[in-house]
């Protein structure tokens, strides 16, 4: 148990060090680096998808297939919960 604790602390500290190194390579908060895809969406959402809501246009039109997968995930979760809580014949 002790060995596991020591290993965990060592590993977690190393992981924290690497993550902190990595996040300082990112663009600072509030100034995204390249924005060509999002600017295209913002400028074209009204005349391409006919909606005023950029996020909905992304969710249901530009990336609608992801939303289908998302609905599938909810569907599979419901099916799984109903499968786990089914009444098992004895």
């Amino acid at each position: 148990m002790e060995k596991r604790m020591v290993t965990g602390i060592l590993v977690f500290s190393l992981l924290a060090v690497f993550f902190f190194f990595s996040i300082f390579q990112l663009h600072p908060f509030g100034e995204p680096g390249q924005v060509q895809m999002d600017d295209y969406i913002i400028t074209h959402t009204q005349n391409e998808t006919g909606t005023n809501n950029g996020v909905t246009s992304v969710v249901f039109d530009y990336r609608g297939f992801d939303t289908l997968g998302e609905a599938t995930i909810l569907f599979s979760a419901v099916a799984g919960v109903l499968l786990i809580f089914r009444r098992v014949r004895h």
Binding site: N47, T49, T51, N52, N53, T56, V59, F60, G64, F75
Partner: protein
């Protein structure tokens, strides 16, 4: 639960329902959409569940019926995608935009007032996803609550 809680739930439930349906219906104009509004309505149903207890709710509405409703929502969603394949020759095609018909008007670019009749197939998809999320989240909560309250679980 006590009578106070039940009365409060009775009063609050319609407002929650209306608010959730509003969020679903205006998903293409204001923040929100099918998932958010569906979650709101499902939370309202969960409020009733807490107030009245799961056995009562389970007698009112069966989980199989809710699951059927959820399947219907999912089928409606994928059917709209297939209609895009039929009418605009591409899966998930937005075939209603600019077609002047239902939800077919294209808003002017820039800041506009809210015109409900826009968005192409997006309001329909919002509706289908809303039905799906209401039924799905509520059936999850209902089944878990009923299973934990039934006798065989002690």
């Amino acid at each position: 639960m006590t009578k106070i809680v039940r009365t409060t739930a009775n009063i609050l439930f319609p407002f929650t329902l209306i608010f959730g349906l509003y969020v679903i219906a205006h998903g293409h104009l204001t923040p929100g959409g099918g998932f958010q509004g569906g979650a709101i309505v499902a939370s309202g149903c969960a409020l009733l569940l807490v107030a009245y207890g799961s056995p009562w709710m389970f007698n009112c509405i069966k989980d199989t019926r809710l699951a059927t409703f959820e399947s219907l929502g999912a089928i409606g969603f994928i059917t709209i995608a297939f209609l895009g394949l039929v009418f605009s020759a591409v899966f998930f095609g937005n075939f209603l935009t600019g077609s002047g018909s239902l939800f077919g008007t294209t808003p002017a670019t820039g800041s506009t007032l809210s015109d409900f009749n826009t968005g192409g197939v997006l309001p329909l998809m919002n509706f289908a996803v809303g039905v799906k999320v209401i039924a799905g989240l509520f059936v999850i909560v209902l089944v878990m609550a009923y299973a934990s309250s039934s006798k065989e679980w002690d």
